[in-house]
């Protein structure tokens, strides 16, 4: 037994010696380019990018919308989410009933003061980063109900709005243009620089 363990410890020493010799030899040679020593499989699966680009790409291509719609503009949104206009192209077809999963709230519809606390609460429950699109005249300013005793004159009274889409209601194309604007806005955000 004694001899065997001596032999195996000898083997370890030999192995170590070989490694050191090899490293010593290669230290005298030029270091190869990564593309030469990476194997083919890895080469095809690595992209070199910046942190900003990567995170912004992830955010803008998976804008999950909260299902909190209050009035008629909703039907244009429904139409947008159906196959004809197909927001699945933007990675937005997932409508979330839970604010914890949502990134975007599209204010499709007239907001009454009685409904306002609920919308505010939903917004507060959403995790950062989150965005707001004010859709339709009602979402922007209260629209034809701006003077009403019961209507909030614009969602921006209670939420910070990122993009405004005018119309009563805006057509799905307009909504797509608004979403495109929001994607542009998200792209500009930088994580590495202080604004």
């Amino acid at each position: 037994m004694e001899i065997k363990s001596q032999q195996s410890s000898m083997n370890i020493d030999l192995h170590e010696g070989r490694l050191i010799e090899e490293l010593k030899r290669s230290s005298c040679e030029m270091m190869p380019e990564p593309s030469e020593w990476l194997d083919e499989e890895i080469k095809r699966n690595i992209i070199v990018s910046t942190v900003d680009k990567l995170l912004n790409w992830g955010r803008k291509t998976s804008l999950w919308t909260e299902t909190a719609f209050t009035a008629c503009c909703t039907f244009e949104f429904i139409s947008l989410s159906s196959p004809r206009f197909d927001i699945a192209r933007f990675g937005m077809e997932v409508l979330r009933s839970s604010p914890r999963h949502a990134d975007l709230i599209i204010t499709a519809g007239t907001l009454t003061w009685k409904m306002a606390p609920q919308i505010k609460r939903i917004y507060d429950q959403m995790a950062e980063p989150k965005w707001v699109i004010a859709m339709g005249s009602c979402g922007i300013s209260g629209g034809i109900f701006a003077d009403s005793y019961s209507v909030v004159p614009g969602y921006n009274r209670i939420l910070p709005v990122d993009v405004y889409i005018p119309g009563c209601p805006p057509r799905p194309e307009a909504l797509m243009a608004g979403i495109e604007r929001l994607r542009k806005k998200i792209e500009k955000k930088s994580f590495t620089k202080v604004d």
């Binding site: 003077d147 005793y149 019961s150």
Partner: protein, 149 residues
Amino acid sequence: MTTTMKGKQVFDMLKGELASAIVEVQDECLVVKPAKLTEVAGFIKHTQGLEFDYLSSATGIDYPDYFEVVYLFYSLEKNHRFTLRIRCADKADPVAPSLTCLWMGADLQEREIYDLLGIKFSGHPLLKRIFMWEGFEGHPLRKDFKNGF
């Protein structure tokens, strides 16, 4: 087919004290003194041949000199309809009798009238706002209502 009873027709059926409760006989409706409303309404609900067992709607109107409450009745039995109106002359503090004792369906409608026009219904089991929130000032469907926001 649904028919509408004439004001004259119904007025002729009212006798004695009830007839004196009528302020005005109109083509298809009767204007009643507010104090006598429950009696007249009870009469048209329970009298053979009238049987207005369903209060299909109640609403309020703000006129320059008075508030009016309009009750639209319907008879599921006889398939005819009729209208009663009352006028509350006191514009500062209008009060009307509640019809919840005869038609429970008057409950929400009267609360709506109270909420939006500020007419109080005496005898209502739970007279509080229904559309506007507690703490809202004024009654928004009054002509003199000013939106403060």
